[in-house]
């Protein structure tokens, strides 16, 4: 059983008719995902790759029983889109959109909790489960291989790089989840670790962290107490200067907090094996396998 997405996942896409929406609906269908609806206000009646488009999330859910949404709408409309999807009964929300004001994210993350739903992102590439042929997001399909390594990451391309290097060594993945590069994200390492711990398909876990915040330190503490599976990690930003926002809104060393050093120390203490270069992860995991 993979995590967050599986064969029962029925995907709705908010922002379906834009360039990105159209392209990724095609990519997801090709991967094997059941994409059942698109939502773009005023575009009801259109189709994208044969997928019907609706004016509202409520219409889409009523007509297609979609249970998961992929949010691709521009930043200033994202909060409304997430609220709308949750109110329509969506259980898993994946927010790709970048540059969403974090006060907005704070509100929709708490509303997600109130609704008992799950939110991945914002500013993330989404989720792919190669074993179940389900992908909700914009991750490149070609890098994946079915297997037993669970990957959770705060970054996009760096994750692709690491997954690709695993696949090149014939080390497949159970699920790969991009958690997002923002300061406020719905699902953090702790929730991902718990899901991988429960998942029978997952035998080892790879975490890709970066500077900013204390998600890695929190994860390290959680691993010591609750995770029995081996964990491998890479931390980006060892040489980033303090006070500078390194590309991701969340990647900033602020007031002495969020340094790579502190994260590396925490992981070492939790017996997590750390890679010096991104592709070294594959070496470490290969030894274990």
């Amino acid at each position: 059983m993979p995590i967050f997405v599986d064969k029962k996942t029925k995907v709705m896409v908010q922002g379906a008719t834009g360039h990105q929406g159209q392209f990724h609906i095609g990519e997801m269908i090709h991967f094997g995902t059941r994409v059942v609806a698109g939502v773009t206000p005023g575009k009801s009646g259109e189709t994208v790759y044969g997928v019907p488009v609706f004016n509202s999330a409520r219409d889409a859910v009523t007509e297609t029983q979609a249970n998961t949404t992929l949010v691709l709408v521009p930043a200033r409309f994202a909060k409304d889109a997430v609220f709308e999807a949750l109110d329509a009964g969506i259980q898993t929300v994946v927010v790709i959109t970048e540059n969403i004001p974090f006060h907005d994210a704070m509100e929709f993350v708490h509303y997600t909790k109130y609704k008992g739903a799950v939110l991945i992102g914002p500013n993330c590439p989404g989720i792919a489960s190669p074993g179940n042929k389900a992908k909700v997001g914009i991750l490149p399909s070609g890098i994946f291989l079915k297997g037993h390594v669970g990957v959770a990451s705060r970054s996009g391309t760096l994750t692709y790089e690491i997954v690709n290097s695993l696949s090149e060594r014939d080390i497949g993945q159970s699920t790969c989840v991009g958690l997002g590069g923002d300061p406020i994200i719905g699902t953090s390492f702790i929730e991902a670790l718990d899901a991988f711990e429960k998942d029978k398909e997952t035998k080892a876990i790879v975490l890709v962290g970066e500077i900013g915040g204390t998600a890695e330190e929190d994860a390290a503490e959680h691993i010591t107490k609750h995770i029995s599976k081996p964990v491998f990690a890479f931390i980006a930003g060892r040489t980033a200067p303090p006070g500078k926002r390194m590309g991701h809104a969340g990647a900033i060393i602020a007031r002495g907090k969020g340094t790579a050093e502190s994260k590396i120390k925490a992981f070492e203490k939790a017996d997590v094996k750390l890679a010096k270069f991104p592709t070294d992860i594959a070496d470490l995991v290969e030894k274990f396998v």
Binding site: F102, L139, G142, G156, G247
Partner: protein, 367 residues
């Protein structure tokens, strides 16, 4: 975006938080109608200005003029002082610390208050900092304020006024999409009044579009960083001499780390993001050229963006822009073979791994 102290104080006044009477001064003649002694404070977006001599007392008009001209000639940690905030001197009975920031792990605003005001909060021991997490759905409530005030041991009138300040600062934090609102020190004057003597306000860049009253000066950015920001390119200038271009923030950071491993020093962090748009690639290289790096290291992973599309863009830019410093490339992912051939034909060095590319770049930059 960081606000200057005086801009933060303007917001405080809007939220009924008292600040000392004062005004912004850029030249001597503007000092004449002031009451002395006064405090002259350099307006820069960097901490530690007090230690650097950026805060002075003007005892009388002549003294104030002299101090003003001293401060206006200063450059604090590389930031030239252009404006000085001149304020009346307030007599201090007690200094407090008050801030609201974001607790990323709890996904909630965190209110912090301490009776140990006026110093760096990181040097205050944890048991002297009182914290309340405020759930965004309920906002600031009387019990939050009561919990904090009960620990500070103040007079009834002071408590009442301070409670109002705490409540207002939370409203400011939420209404203006702040990352941080800090008042250090927040003081109680000899007359029992509460004043914010300093302000540190950071507004979330992503939310600036809905605060048209805040003028984005981006003073903390270099001129090239400003230019990049206008073009929507993530571009950060650093201390070294190697220009790093990669796609994605994590990968760009990892590239910097690899350079450091081989004792190379990055001078520019340029994140291309998910684009393969030739125009964006062109703008990126134009900016990089202006930063005059000794070597450029291009590290790309092609997923959705195809390696060969980016490679074509790169090779076109190099010939049209006449970029003459050595370029080391490392390209991996979708259509990497074709991409490598294109880059080789353009006369670039193509490395097999990130390690090779970082080593080679560091060696060349060190020569």
């Amino acid at each position: 975006m960081k606000l200057f102290e005086y801009q933060g104080k303007q917001l405080f006044e809007k939220y009924s938080i008292s600040v000392p009477k004062g005004k912004i001064v850029e030249k001597e003649s503007e000092l004449s109608d002031f009451v002395f002694p006064c405090i002259l404070k350099a307006q820069v977006l960097i901490g530690g200005r007090g230690k650097a001599g950026g805060i002075k007392t003007g005892e009388n008009i002549n003294d104030a003029k002299e101090k003003l001209s001293q401060i206006l000639q200063m450059s604090i940690k590389g930031f030239p002082v252009k404006k000085v905030l001149v304020e009346e001197k307030v007599r201090i009975k007690k200094e407090l610390y008050l801030s609201i920031t974001l607790d990323r792990s709890k996904r909630m605003p965190l209110l912090m208050m301490s009776g140990e005001g006026g110093m760096d909060i990181e040097s205050v021991s944890d048991n002297l900092i009182f914290k309340e997490w405020i759930h965004p759905f309920i906002g600031i409530q009387p019990f939050h304020i009561k919990n904090i005030l009960s620990k500070l041991k103040l007079g009834k009138d002071e408590e009442k006024e301070l409670g109002q300040v705490i409540s207002n600062i939370y409203k400011l934090f939420r209404n203006y999409d702040c990352e941080l609102v800090e008042i250090n020190p927040l003081i109680i004057s000899n007359e029992g009044k509460i004043f914010a003597l300093d302000s540190k306000v950071i507004i979330n860049d992503d939310a600036l579009y809905r605060h048209s009253d805040i003028i984005a000066e981006n003073e903390e950015l270099t001129s090239l960083e400003k230019e990049a920001k206008e073009k929507g390119i993530v571009f950060i200038q650093l201390e070294g001499n190697i220009g790093v271009i990669a796609n994605g923030a994590g990968l760009t950071m990892a590239t910097l780390d690899a350079l450091t491993h081989y004792e190379g020093k990055a001078g520019v962090f340029l994140d291309l993001g998910g684009t393969d748009d030739p125009e964006k690639v062109k703008q990126a290289f134009q900016l990089m050229k202006k930063a005059k790096p000794k070597v450029i290291l291009l590290n790309l992973f092609g997923g959705i963006t195809k390696c060969d599309t980016v490679a074509k863009g790169v090779s076109a830019v190099i010939s049209s822009e006449g970029i003459d410093c050595p370029i080391i490339t490392r390209i991996k992912g979708c259509n990497e073979g074709v991409a490598k051939d294109i880059l080789k034909d353009a006369g670039l060095f193509t490395a097999e791994s990130l390690q090779d590319a970082a080593k080679k770049s560091s060696e060349m930059a060190g020569r």
